[in-house]
Symmetry: C2
Subunit: 216 residues, 2 copies
């Protein structure tokens, strides 16, 4: 077994350390984050630090690094109050990855990377046409994390756009059928295979697989 | 396409809404969170709201719901200053799921669910013996989220315990080889299959798959 302690972590070569720390927690939610500036220039970036904050009210959190060059995203979220999260599929995941390149300000990653914009009535932020699960969010608050200069953005879910047949009888989205991908570390993409949907856990009751309409 | 707006979200049946909102963002990092009380009673809970906060310093965030019955976790983290995150494997994922049952205070989920404790020198929080990737963390700060009463806990990575051969030449952990699982929604478990590790994205350069030592 390898045991890497604090002192060794700080002595690791910079890119090795970044890759290692980014891959520690396992697979991460992979989404394209879509925004628009007040004057209509769209922006799209790949994000893997999205987390579920609560279901009532329906809240989602994400981490942004304001010191990065393409920091239009945070500015757009705060100025327009709207943004979208969109899942990534295997047949176009390389285009999604390409949105993380540092394009000059004023260039939309939608156009540069061949990603289709999709709009709905009364909502200004662009969704991704190629996605099968898309979330429209309303900005609620930003928390500045002093310890490393990042920002946690909290938003409320105000639109759920899912292709037909993806939401199961119990409300769970079938991400297998949706062909949603995931990422481990900075750049390694995976497609998950379902193993089992388990019954609600109770003390003294053996854990067991539910009979569901999810196709395993 | 299904379009569910704010008004419909609030009208959904409670458990349907919880399942839907929990499954929106896609696959999530799945870990067992291990703690110990000041007087040595261990606690273990399954958590899927862990997120990468930054690599330098190496920081990880996670969301806890203090209003839940088994809220010993937050108390333990704050009183001892130490906790662990451990990946979940297919051959014992049902036992991991079972830790989410509401055991009475004083009962350790390690014992109740057949999870092995593992300790290292000078670190009081218990790791999971059956895991292949284990993280030891030092508590840094807790942020109370007023909007829904949750707490975001931030910790610094001080130990990385990985089985031999899982850390690649570039520092990325091979979660395929580690047999790390992921979860979508509350209770549907998946095992990801690798699709591709992509080169660093640059404007004007076609996205492409790296030749790596990751076995695809």
């Amino acid at each position: 077994m390898t045991n890497i302690g604090t002192e060794e972590i700080y002595q690791l070569e910079k890119y090795y350390r970044v890759s290692l720390i980014n891959s520690l927690i396992g697979y991460r939610a992979l989404n394209l984050l879509g925004t628009s500036s007040a004057d209509g220039i769209t922006n799209l970036c790949l994000i893997s630090s999205v987390f579920h904050l609560g279901a009532n009210p329906p809240l989602i959190g994400l981490v942004l690094r304001p010191q990065r060059e393409h920091n239009d995203t945070l500015k757009n979220i705060i100025s327009t109050g709207q943004y979208t999260l969109n899942n990534v599929l295997p047949y176009w995941y390389m285009q999604a990855h390409q949105t993380s390149a540092s394009y000059p300000s004023g260039v939309s990653e939608f156009d540069a990377c061949g990603i289709k914009k999709q709009y709905i009535k009364d909502f200004k932020a662009p969704f991704v046409g190629q996605s099968t699960v898309r979330i429209g969010l309303e900005f609620k608050e930003v928390i500045d994390i002093e310890i490393n200069g990042t920002s946690i953005v909290i938003g409320e879910v105000v639109h759920i756009l899912a292709e037909d047949g993806l939401i199961g009888a119990d409300g769970t989205i079938d991400h297998g059928k949706a062909e949603t991908m995931t990422v481990a570390g900075l750049d390694t993409y995976y497609l998950p295979q379902p193993i089992g949907q388990l019954a609600y856990a109770k003390p003294g009751v053996e854990p067991h697989i539910l009979k569901t309409d999810v196709e395993f």
